[in-house]
């Protein structure tokens, strides 16, 4: 028999899973997660999740974009092959602003999306939970609390008992 990956407890409503998450957090588990069909309001606080770091990725992307735009235009129109056009200056931050502005947004957006995927360690097409049939309901209308076996406090009986007392009607062990 394969090693257990985690214990999975099913809940039927957002309120129930929110209270369950509060209890699990209080008990001191660390390698655990809540799975919901949509982001549940207040869940981050209940799980003790800090503000996401995606913003930094986006910020660095945006700065890179703006600098790239300005340097690119300076290099092309003023350094590598300067041509006088309409008596306008070879380089000016004003005419180079619109393309640099667009590149700021472009790189910032890539930063946000790729940063999100990186922080979430996605794409990951193979995962023990995705093999579990019942777990497919996590994208439908059920809510799951999953406590991983790598958690220092994990013990099959203790953890199961905790999840039962919180009010889960369906608990099962997910295999690796």
């Amino acid at each position: 028999m394969p090693a257990p990956y985690a214990i999975m407890a099913e809940f039927e409503t957002p309120a129930a899973v929110l209270h369950a998450a509060e209890k699990v957090q209080e008990t001191g588990y660390r390698h655990w997660d809540v799975f919901t069909p949509f982001p549940v309001h207040g869940m981050d606080r209940a799980m003790g999740i800090r503000n996401s770091k995606v913003g930094w990725f986006s910020f660095i992307g945006g700065c890179t974009g703006y600098t790239t735009g300005m340097l690119m235009i300076w290099y092309m129109n003023s350094h590598n092959y300067p041509i006088v056009i309409g008596g306008k200056p070879m380089f000016s931050p004003f005419y180079s602003f619109p393309p640099s502005y667009e590149l700021t947004i472009l790189f910032g957006s890539f930063g946000a999306l790729l940063g999100m995927l990186f922080l979430n360690r996605l794409p990951r097409l193979h995962h023990p939970l995705l093999k579990n049939r019942r777990f497919a309901l996590a994208t439908h209308d059920r809510f799951f609390v999953v406590i991983e076996s790598t958690d220092p406090k994990y013990s099959e009986n203790e953890t199961r008992r905790l999840l039962e007392t919180i009010g889960s009607k369906h608990i099962e062990v997910v295999e690796e």
Binding site: E12, T13, P14, A15, A16, V17, H19, A21, V34, F35, T36, P37, F38, P39, V40, H41, G42, D44, M47, I49, N51, S52, K53, V54, G55, S58, G69, M72, I73, M76, N77, N80, Y81, G86, K88, Y95, P98, P99, Y101, E102, L103, I105, L106, S109, A112, L113, G115, M116, L119, N120, L122, P123, R124, L125, H127, A136, A138, T139, H140, D141
Partner: protein, 486 residues
């Protein structure tokens, strides 16, 4: 659940109750079933008919491009001084239509307009396909399409670089960024819904296909936390982007010296017009779709009504801009400006031309079609009766886009055909190639849109679930399995 009983949440008084965003107290699971059912069910007959027509028209689009490439831009009705004909009109028109999608997905998100969730996916798809149609025109209007790469900063041995002092180059960056960011935003919103499709899939191909693009999304709350932040940032970035795109498109005109183009109010006026036409297109698409796909409980009459209100607001801004253009033309005292607006645009043969003792304007009918459709038509949306009558909304929404097409025609071609020197004047008419090329882009647009509604959930499932009352754990119904009346 015991500690929850201590918190007594009172329902709001009846007069403050809002119309629920999802009708008939539907549960969360029902939303998945209904929306995914559109993709999973049998292909409807009307879909096949529409697809054949659209595909044929799309072929016409490509044949016309081929004809243009093999012969030259002479196949269009261009001729001095009108060197920007339908191609630029269509470009601005299509890109304007795209703007509603980003407005709905980004600006309404920042403004916490929760009704956007029912319509944002389809509107974003509309944006992407409209920008694709738009992108064709500037590329092919250069005539020698094989030199199109000159527009992009690609290193080459001749050091031929794009000339960034021209607003046309700004446009290249604005439009390509707009397309890319719209696709990113759309795709990111799709990830949780593709996971829904993956988990429901009955066949191996579907499981693999949706599973691949869902990137292994599991609905983890630690993921949702990053996801929501990234979504917020993308909305925050898309908002200045959408405002900048049509502003930069308008700079293509307003930076020049031509009366009728050289106007400082162009950026906000173009953005308002773009949002107006975009909402027109969203209504044209969704009013019939909600009925044919049985999504009336999710895209409610209330959603249509709210969209009508946005159309009314932006349409009125457009009307104000028209009035301001005329006022400034008169107030500036510049004879060329006055000539452009009063004698070249507005002078109709029945009232104004006889009153002013001048010859009627050659394109007076185009100008007055524009005014009728863009100034008068949206005013019907003041009436609740009209906003809630789907047939009326559908017809008016089409008139909105007729009007907006004529607006671009008026700006681009009427301004060009009579400029400073009378010996430079000419009358411009399109050729059959112009017309077929334009109709062909409808084929392209609808082919992609039909494929979209058939293969991708056309409503953001996860987002709509999130705005139902039973999705909020702090709401009195937070524990309910079915939705309530609030």
């Amino acid at each position: 659940m015991d500690d929850n009983a201590a918190i007594k949440v009172q329902a709001p008084p009846v007069e403050l109750e809002r119309v629920p965003l999802v009708a008939n107290q539907r549960g969360i699971g029902w939303l998945s079933d209904q929306i995914a059912g559109v993709v999973e069910g049998k292909t409807p007959g009307w879909w096949k008919i529409c697809f054949v027509i659209s595909f044929t028209m799309m072929t016409v689009c490509f044949v016309m491009i081929l004809y243009l490439m093999s012969t030259g831009v002479g196949v269009w009705g261009l001729g001095h001084p009108v060197m920007w004909g339908w191609a630029i009109v269509n470009f601005v028109w299509w890109i304007g239509i795209g703007h509603a999608g980003t407005l709905i997905s980004a600006i309404l998100f920042l403004l916490r307009q929760r009704w956007r969730t029912s319509i944002n996916r389809a509107a974003e798809a509309m944006t992407i396909f409209a920008v694709m149609c738009a992108g064709i025109f500037p590329l092919i209007h250069i005539g020698r399409i094989w030199y199109g790469w000159w527009l992009f900063p690609i290193p080459n041995s001749f050091s031929i670089w794009p000339q960034f002092r021209s607003p046309l180059m700004w446009d290249v960056f604005a439009v390509s960024t707009y397309f890319t960011v719209s696709v990113l935003f759309w795709y990111m919103g799709l990830i949780p819904d593709l996971a829904v499709m993956r988990d429901r899939a009955k066949t191996k191909i579907r499981k693999f296909g949706y599973g691949l693009f869902a990137l292994g999304w599991r609905g983890s709350n630690r993921h949702w936390s990053n996801y929501e932040k990234a979504y917020l940032i993308l909305a925050g970035l898309s908002t200045p982007l959408v405002l900048s795109v049509h502003s930069i498109v308008s700079l293509d005109f307003s930076v020049s010296q031509l009366p009728g183009w050289h106007t400082t109010i162009f950026p906000p006026y173009f953005v308002a017009g773009a949002v107006y036409s975009g909402f027109g297109m969203v209504l044209t698409l969704l009013v019939p779709l909600r009925r044919m796909l049985k999504l009336e409980d999710i895209i409610r009459v209330r959603h249509v009504e709210l969209m009508c209100k946005v159309t009314l607001a932006t349409g009125s801004i457009v009307g104000y801009a028209y009035a301001m253009e005329f006022f400034i033309a008169w107030y500036s005292g510049n004879p060329y400006e006055r000539f452009q607006f009063f004698e070249t645009r507005a002078a109709d043969p029945f009232i104004l031309a006889p009153l002013m003792h001048i010859k009627p304007a050659p394109y007076w009918w185009a100008f007055w079609t524009m005014v009728t459709c863009n100034v008068i038509v949206p005013q019907f949306f003041w009436f609740k009766k009209i906003r809630t009558t789907m047939l009326a909304v559908f017809v008016l929404s089409i008139l909105v886009n007729v009007g907006m097409w004529f607006e671009r025609f008026v700006i681009v071609d009427i301004s060009l055909h009579r400029e400073f020197i009378p010996s430079n004047w000419n009358y411009y008419s399109p050729t059959w190639v112009d017309i077929c090329q334009y109709l062909g882009t409808f084929g392209l647009f609808f082919t992609f849109f039909l494929l979209f509604i058939r293969y991708v959930p056309l409503i953001a499932i996860a987002e709509v679930k999130g705005v139902t009352p039973q999705a909020d754990p702090h709401h009195p119904l937070g524990g309910a399995k079915i939705g309530g009346g609030h």
